[in-house]
């Protein structure tokens, strides 16, 4: 077994036992990246020199007997919308192609405290808007299970890198499914924490009231470990909650006896691929075997979630992306004779079509005369959706649904039909609307050999149940015996 095939907790054990050095691990990953990334294209920026320097430092610390974190020297890949001082943060946009962040995101500070090694920055849909990473203005990323297919999005680079063993774990961000959906399409674990559990400081904002940073990992144990590292109150983020810090690895218990699992019937209905639907039902059977009670339930208002999402997310995005104006940083047009031209041309030339579409939609719904009909109404429906979830969580510990209505689709298949693309997130979007934690667990391969994931959703700040119930499924199935084939079609 190669080093790059191991999970983080396995690597950490080897480091602790002195069987391997951080430098060896880091080199192993860069070798793998050089081998596989030319066809996967997950990385936007590679940080090899800094990474090897950091790995060496950590090795010296260990040799000198300095106390270091158990995970010191373990590499990580970072989605390219998270700021690392002195490093390009492009958001896969022409607008920020040459933007070098002058500060660290809080999650990066936390990783620095653990002496993490950064492999590089990972591709994404431009400004995290999309479900296939095809909206990257830089290049497309390919799904390691079938290079002609998309890795999902927007954290497609992060999910593809972990799936292709080009990173042991990675950070993504999730506004409407951007961690879970690509994790599902790439066959890895993706956890979107409760809104407010992880600081958003230094995450380039798409939709402030929906964005969360979270782990993309090879297994659930690693997701718990990474969540331990990145969660916690941050005085730089007013929306991060000041709650007691938990050790999520304690939730990794292989036991679901007495747990109550609900399956909202709307998510195993029309519009969901048969094989995906059957996989969810199979997982449900498995849980029953393991001693949980499983019941069908209903989340009827969930059908409004996508509409609500595209109003709220785009409204916030239209405001959040105003700062990309060609004045202080980022792309500035060469074609201007006055201030108005700088704005108009910089933004016309610097943003891609999907970003422009959302800015236009968001600007429209906030416009005077339309605010009440769209934004205000959407906020009201948002409350209804949250309440409906709360009612369900009085009866169930977690909800089980598909993560994505389909497995990975072909590159180019949906690019010309934005509405169809938007439906790729129908199972994940309502979770963001209600600010809940959700997790993708890779479950099996479909008949084409593509990963199918299932999603667990828990009530706010109940990541422990999510992890426990997810862990039990993982321990009693064997998805990780499958490996991406890097085939073409």
């Amino acid at each position: 077994m190669e080093l790059y095939e191991l999970t983080v907790h396995e690597l950490a054990d080897k480091l602790e036992a002195g069987e391997v050095t951080a430098t060896e691990i880091t080199k192993s990953y860069f070798d793998r990246i050089k081998e596989k990334d030319p066809e996967v294209r997950a990385y936007v920026t590679l940080l090899e020199e800094d990474a090897l320097k950091k790995a060496k430092e950590v090795d010296e610390k260990r040799i000198n007997g300095e106390k270091v974190s158990k995970y010191a020297g373990i590499p990580i890949g970072i989605k390219d919308n998270l700021c690392i001082t002195g490093t390009k943060t492009t958001c896969s946009s022409k607008m920020l192609e040459n933007f070098i962040a002058p500060y660290n995101a809080t999650v990066i500070e936390k990783l620095n405290d653990e002496d993490a090694v950064y492999l590089g920055k990972l591709n994404m849909d431009e400004f995290a808007m999309g479900s296939s990473t095809e909206n990257s203005a830089l290049f497309k990323t390919h799904n390691p299970w079938d290079l002609e297919r998309v890795p999902g999005g927007s954290s497609g680079g992060s999910a593809a890198a972990v799936a292709a063993d080009m990173a042991p774990w990675a950070l993504g961000s999730d506004t409407g499914g951007s961690i879970r959906q690509p994790s599902s399409l790439c066959g890895v674990v993706g956890l979107k924490p409760t809104y407010g559990l992880v600081s958003r400081y230094g995450l380039v904002a798409f939709a402030s009231s929906l964005d969360q940073i979270g782990p993309i990992t090879k297994d659930i144990t690693d997701a718990a470990i990474l969540l331990n590292i990145i969660s916690g109150h941050d005085e730089h983020d007013s929306t991060s909650l000041d709650i007691e810090k938990k050790d999520y690895t304690k939730a990794l218990v292989n036991d679901v006896k007495g747990m109550r699992i609900g399956i909202p019937k709307e998510y195993i209905a029309d519009g969901i691929n048969e094989e995906v639907k059957n996989a969810v039902l199979e997982a449900a059977e498995k849980y029953k075997e393991l001693g949980a009670t499983v019941e069908e339930c209903s989340l009827d208002v969930g059908k409004y979630a996508t509409a609500v999402y595209y109003i709220i997310a785009d409204a916030e995005a239209s405001s959040n992306l105003g700062r990309f104006d060609g004045i202080r940083y980022g792309y500035r047009t060469e074609n201007f004779s006055n201030l108005r031209d700088i704005y108009r041309n910089s933004r016309s030339e610097g943003f891609g079509p999907e970003v422009k579409r959302r800015i236009l939609l968001g600007t429209y719904v906030l416009s005077s005369g339309y605010y009440d009909a769209y934004y205000k109404k959407a906020q009201k429906v948002r409350t209804l959706i949250t309440n409906a979830y709360n009612e369900l969580f009085e009866k169930y510990d977690v909800l089980l649904t598909p993560t994505s209505p389909t497995t990975a689709f072909k590159i180019g298949e949906k690019v010309d039909n934005p509405l169809e693309m938007y439906l790729a997130d129908i199972c994940t979007v309502p979770v963001n609307i209600a600010g809940l934690p959700g997790m993708n667990i890779p479950y099996k391969l479909d008949s084409k050999g593509l990963p199918i994931g299932v999603q667990l959703v828990a009530k706010q700040f109940d990541e422990e149940k999510l992890l426990r119930i997810g862990y039990t499924l993982e321990q009693n199935t064997n998805f990780r015996d499958n490996k991406p084939t890097f085939r073409k079609g």
Partner: protein
């Protein structure tokens, strides 16, 4: 002067920078000046991914301002984004307050010729200031300085209750005075920490309907506010009288030409797309919180004024004047502790000190001497050490240097001690009476003025140092001998 059959309707939006040490949404310094872009961080520069965190002091100061202007305090307030593009606005939105301002429904009273008048305050909300654009004088471009971006502001919105430029000035002076008293702002207009958007309309007297208003933005001196209002009201009357229609628009006041100019094209009505700021949580204020702030309010000008009238028997005019500024009032209170002579101290403030400030084009906060020193000066008069004429000269000296010397030291250094020695004065009196026989005849003939002339001559001779009472006495004695 506006035509008799018209009246002005004026409302002000006063922007006041709060004197918190740090900015409203980050921990950068609010200090004025500094090399461009040195009081900045990712948050106030609008870097991608940076988030605001509300400075609690800003809420406290704003609530204080609200309580001092008789406002109700909103217990469930929030911040909203006001979206617009401008190079001095790094986030492309201002974090302001839209439908739930911190303070609402207040008022202040101003003193007019017809007695006290109430000006209602619609709301006070908090927001972040923008940066500054420096335009290169050689036309090489404009440069953005974000030192001021994120400095906390309160915007005080009045009802359209003012009917003359003078009332508008009085209202704004009143706010300035209150905010200085409660120490929420230094209100330095010359540094832009107090400025106003002025809304003006005119209507025929007796009509109830408001005319169409125009707005003049960013006015930062009392003088230009008064001039601009008077000019603009007359312009509007001219437009109407010539059969035209006043357009609702934003105008720029040009202080040099003394005219207003149209600033924006009218088709582009601003749509700020306000919506609740998702990066901040709601502002919930408990009753106890508000009451605790109320307890910290110092004595306000209104109450001081009443006390001065009752305890020190100052005239209405003097009491109004002394309490018009915290700086005057504090100097007054310190000074009378030393000299126990409220009348002379208030007179000096009202006449000489106000005159000198006016000549120097300075504001009361720029006075460099202490109240104690002013008290000492008055004591020197009361003890007969100097005359009031000399006191005026000493006062002038007290404005010259940054480190103000005590009046006694100035008097000694300049050799201005009053001559009260009768022997010395007698010599001068005899000399002057000898030289002016006609004045002696005039005085004896009933012309009292002649005595004044003689005393004046003696003052000239002694460079104002002779004790005037003794001079008077000795002249009368000497004339009566002749």
């Amino acid at each position: 002067m506006l035509r008799d059959d018209y009246e002005m309707v004026i409302g002000l939006e006063v922007h006041c920078e709060l004197s918190t040490k740090t900015k409203i949404f980050c921990s950068c310094s609010t200090e004025f000046g500094g090399e461009p872009n040195t009081h900045c961080c990712p948050v106030c520069m609008g870097m991608p991914g940076a988030l605001p965190v509300l400075n609690e002091k800003v809420v406290e100061y704003a609530v204080k301002a609200g309580l001092a202007t008789n406002c109700s305090i909103e217990e469930n307030s929030k911040n909203d984004r006001k979206n617009y593009f401008y190079p001095d606005t790094p986030k492309a939105y201002q974090i302001s307050q839209f439908d739930k301002p911190l303070c609402y429904d207040g008022y202040v009273n101003i003193e007019t010729e017809d007695g006290e008048k109430t000006i209602r305050i619609e709301r006070i909300h908090i927001e972040d200031d923008a940066g500054k654009l420096n335009h290169d004088e050689y036309g090489r471009g404009s440069f953005v300085d974000l030192n001021r971006a994120g400095v906390p502001l309160i915007e005080v919105v009045s009802k359209p209750d003012m009917r003359s430029a003078e009332e508008a000035e009085k209202y704004m002076r009143k706010l300035k005075s209150i905010f200085e008293y409660i120490e929420v702002s230094d209100c330095k207009m010359e540094q832009g920490s107090l400025r106003a958007d002025v809304n003006v309309s005119v209507r025929k007297k007796g009509t109830e309907k408001f005319g169409t208003r125009t707005e003049m933005k960013n006015m930062s001196s009392f003088r230009s506010i008064v001039r601009a209002i008077n000019y603009e009201a007359e312009r509007q009357v001219d437009v109407i009288e010539n059969g035209g229609v006043v357009e609702q628009e934003t105008l720029r006041w040009d202080d040099i030409s003394g005219k207003t100019f149209s600033m924006r094209d009218k088709e582009n009505a601003d749509d700020y797309r306000y919506f609740p700021e998702p990066d901040l949580v709601a502002i919930k204020l408990s009753k106890e919180y508000v009451e605790n702030i109320r307890k910290t309010l110092p004595e306000l000008p209104e109450s001081r004024r009443k006390r001065y009238l009752a305890d020190y028997e100052l005239s209405e005019k003097a009491a109004n004047f002394v309490t018009s500024s915290k700086y005057y009032s504090n100097i007054f209170e310190e000074a009378i502790k030393v000299c126990n002579n409220p009348k002379t101290v208030s007179n000096m403030l009202m006449s000489d000190i106000a005159r000198i400030l006016n000549e120097r084009e300075e504001e009361p906060d720029e006075i460099k001497f202490s109240g104690k020193q002013l008290g000492e000066l008055v004591s020197l008069i009361d003890k007969g050490t100097i005359s009031s004429a000399i006191a005026k000269k000493v006062l002038e000296e007290m404005f010259v240097e940054d480190e103000v010397k005590d009046p006694e030291v100035i008097v000694k250094e300049k050799g201005w001690i009053q001559i009260s020695d009768e022997g010395a004065i007698k010599e001068i009196v005899v000399k002057i009476v000898d030289a002016n026989p006609q004045s002696v005849i005039d005085y004896k003939g009933g012309k009292d003025k002649a005595l004044g002339f003689l005393v004046g001559q003696a003052m000239k001779e002694t460079k104002g140092q002779a004790n005037p009472q003794i001079l008077n006495k000795l002249f009368i004695e000497e004339i009566n001998k002749r």
